[in-house]
C-alpha cells in the first residue's frame, strides 16, 4: 500500500479490462477490515472494479454480480468479501436493517456500490 500514501490517487482506466486490473491490484493489497466506498453513474464500471477486487482476494470474478436486487452478496476468498449496493436505498439505516451492520467484523472486506446514496453508512476511514 506504500504507493497509496497520498490522500488522493487518481487512476483513469480506458477499458473494462483495465478497470478489473486496477481492482485486482487493490484486492491483492487488502488485509481485511477495509471498507471500499464506490461512487459513479450507471455504467461507470463499479461492479467490474469489484470483480477485480474479488480476483485479488482469490475469488472467481464470475461469481461477482450486481447486488442491486438482493443488496448484499457474501463471497468467500482469501478474506470474506461483502459486496453491497445502495442503488435502491435512501439511508444507511436501510442497509443496516438488511443485515450489513452485522458484517463489519474487522476481517471482512466491505465494498459498497452507490455509496453516495447512504453517506451515513460509510465510515470516515473508507477508501
Amino acid at each position: 500500500m506504500s504507493t497509496l500514501q497520498a490522500d488522493r490517487v487518481s487512476i483513469e482506466t480506458g477499458s473494462t479490462e483495465e478497470t478489473i486490473r486496477v481492482g485486482a491490484r487493490l484486492g491483492e493489497a487488502l488485509r481485511g477490515g477495509e471498507f471500499l466506498a464506490l461512487t459513479g453513474d450507471l455504467g461507470a464500471g463499479k461492479t467490474h472494479f469489484v470483480k477485480g477486487v474479488a480476483a485479488g482476494l482469490d475469488i472467481d470474478p464470475k461469481s461477482v454480480t450486481s447486488p442491486t436486487f438482493l443488496l448484499i452478496h457474501n463471497l468467500d476468498g482469501r478474506l470474506p468479501l461483502v459486496h453491497m449496493d445502495a442503488y435502491r436505498l435512501k439511508s444507511g439505516e436501510e442497509l443496516a436493517e438488511a443485515g450489513a451492520a452485522d458484517l463489519q467484523d474487522g476481517e471482512s472486506v466491505l465494498v459498497l456500490e452507490w455509496a453516495g446514496n447512504v453517506p451515513d453508512f460509510v465510515p470516515s476511514d473508507a477508501l
Binding site: 473494462t16 450507471l42 455504467g43 467490474h48 442491486t68 436486487f69 443488496l71 435502491r88 436505498l89 443485515g99
Partner: protein
C-alpha cells in the same frame, strides 16, 4: 390436496390456496408497487414493514376467497429463499404460525423454482426434463429441470439480471418503474433495429448472460460519453421509442438465443419460461417463433402468473408435500438460492 402458499420474497405480499398443485382456487397479491414507484425501486425497509402490515389480511383474504377455513387445508408452503431476508422472514413466520396453529405440515419453497412451475396453474403441467429460463429483476438463470427440487444450473448472468437491466434502462430514458413494462410501452411504436446495439453473447458456447455492457451502450447512446452530458438531458435527436425498442430487442435476442443453445447442448427439446420478464410480449413472441421453428415444446405461464405470486409457491409445495417432504418449525430463510 389443498395447500396454502405464502410469498413475501420481494415486492408483493402474496397468499393463495391451490388444489392438487394445479388449480388456484384463490390468488391474492397485495402489490406494493405504488409504494415503491416514488423511489424508482424496491426499498427494503418499506418492503419489510409493508409485508408485516399486509400479511395477516392477505392470508385471511386468500382463505376467504377459497371458501375454506384454515382447518380445511392439507399443508402450508412458504417461500424461504432467495430474497431480502427481512422480507422473507415475515412470510416464513406467518407460514409457521399457520402450520402450528392448525396442525398442518410445513414446507419451504425456492422462489425461483416456483417461477418454473407457475405454468402448471395455467393448465400446462411442464413435462420434464426441460430447460428452464427464469428471468426477473433479480435472476437471469438457465436450468436443466429434472424434477421438483432437482435443478441443475446451466448458466446465469455474470453481472446484471435482465429485469434489473430493464429497470436501469428505463431510468436512463426517463421512463417509469417497473422498467420492463415501461420500456415495452415506450418501445411499442419504436423501430427495434434503429439502434444497432451489440448482442452480448460472450463465448460462442457460453450459457452465461451479461447485460452490463448493453446498459453502458444505452447510456452512451442516450446521454453521450462526457460526464457532464450524462447528468443532463437526453442528447438531441435521441428517440426514446427507438432506443427502448432496440434495447428490448437486444435483451430478448440474447435470452432466446441462449435458451435454444441450452436446448442444443442438453438435447432436451422442452423449454419452460418463468419470472416477471416472461410477461414481456416481445420475449413471448420470439420464444414461440423459435420453438415452433425448431419443433421444441414451450411452456409459458399466463401473464398474471409470471410476476411474483403465491399460487406458484403452493403449486411447488403441493408437489413436495405429496413426495413426503416436510420442514420443521425451525425452517430458516436464506438470501441466496442455495443453502
Amino acid at each position: 390436496m389443498l395447500v396454502l402458499g405464502i410469498d413475501t420474497s420481494c415486492d408483493e405480499t402474496a397468499a393463495a390456496v391451490v388444489r392438487d398443485g394445479c388449480l388456484a382456487v384463490s390468488n391474492v397479491v397485495s402489490s406494493q408497487v405504488p409504494l415503491h414507484r416514488r423511489f424508482g425501486g424496491v426499498v427494503p425497509e418499506i418492503a419489510c414493514r409493508a409485508h408485516a402490515e399486509n400479511i395477516s389480511r392477505v392470508i385471511a383474504r386468500a382463505l376467504d376467497d377459497a371458501g375454506t377455513p384454515a382447518s380445511g387445508l392439507d399443508g402450508v408452503a412458504v417461500t424461504n429463499r432467495p430474497g431480502l431476508i427481512g422480507a422473507l422472514l415475515v412470510g416464513v413466520s406467518a407460514g409457521k404460525a399457520m402450520a402450528l396453529g392448525n396442525d398442518l405440515p410445513l414446507v419451504g419453497v425456492n422462489h425461483v423454482e416456483a417461477h418454473i412451475f407457475a405454468s402448471a396453474l395455467s393448465g400446462k403441467d411442464p413435462v420434464l426434463p426441460a430447460v428452464a429460463l427464469v428471468v426477473s429483476g433479480g435472476h437471469t438463470t438457465l436450468f436443466l429441470v429434472k424434477g421438483v427440487g432437482e435443478l441443475a444450473e446451466l448458466g446465469r448472468t455474470i453481472d446484471d439480471a435482465a429485469g434489473e437491466a430493464f429497470d436501469k434502462a428505463s431510468a436512463m430514458l426517463g421512463l417509469g418503474y417497473p422498467g420492463g413494462p415501461a420500456i415495452e410501452e415506450a418501445g411499442r411504436d419504436g423501430n427495434p433495429a434503429a439502434v444497432p446495439f451489440k448482442r452480448p453473447y460472450l463465448a460462442p458456447d457460453s450459457l452465461d448472460f451479461s447485460f452490463s455492457g448493453l446498459k453502458t451502450a444505452l447510456l452512451y447512446h442516450s446521454r453521450g460519453q462526457s460526464k457532464r452530458g450524462r447528468r443532463g438531458d437526453l442528447l438531441p435527436g435521441v428517440s426514446v421509442p427507438d432506443a427502448a425498442a432496440s434495447f428490448q430487442e437486444t435483451v430478448v435476442d440474447v435470452l432466446v438465443r441462449k435458451t435454444f443453445l441450452a436446448v442444443r447442448q442438453t438435447g432436451v427439446p422442452r423449454v419452460i419460461l418463468g419470472g416477471g420478464v416472461a410477461a414481456n410480449t416481445r420475449l413471448r413472441e420470439k420464444m414461440i417463433a423459435q420453438a415452433t421453428r425448431r419443433g421444441v415444446s414451450l411452456t409459458i405461464p399466463d401473464k398474471p402468473l409470471c410476476t411474483d405470486n403465491a399460487a406458484m409457491v403452493a403449486a411447488v409445495g403441493c408437489r413436495l408435500l405429496a413426495g413426503g417432504v416436510r420442514d420443521p418449525l425451525s425452517l430458516d430463510a436464506h438470501s441466496r438460492m442455495t443453502g
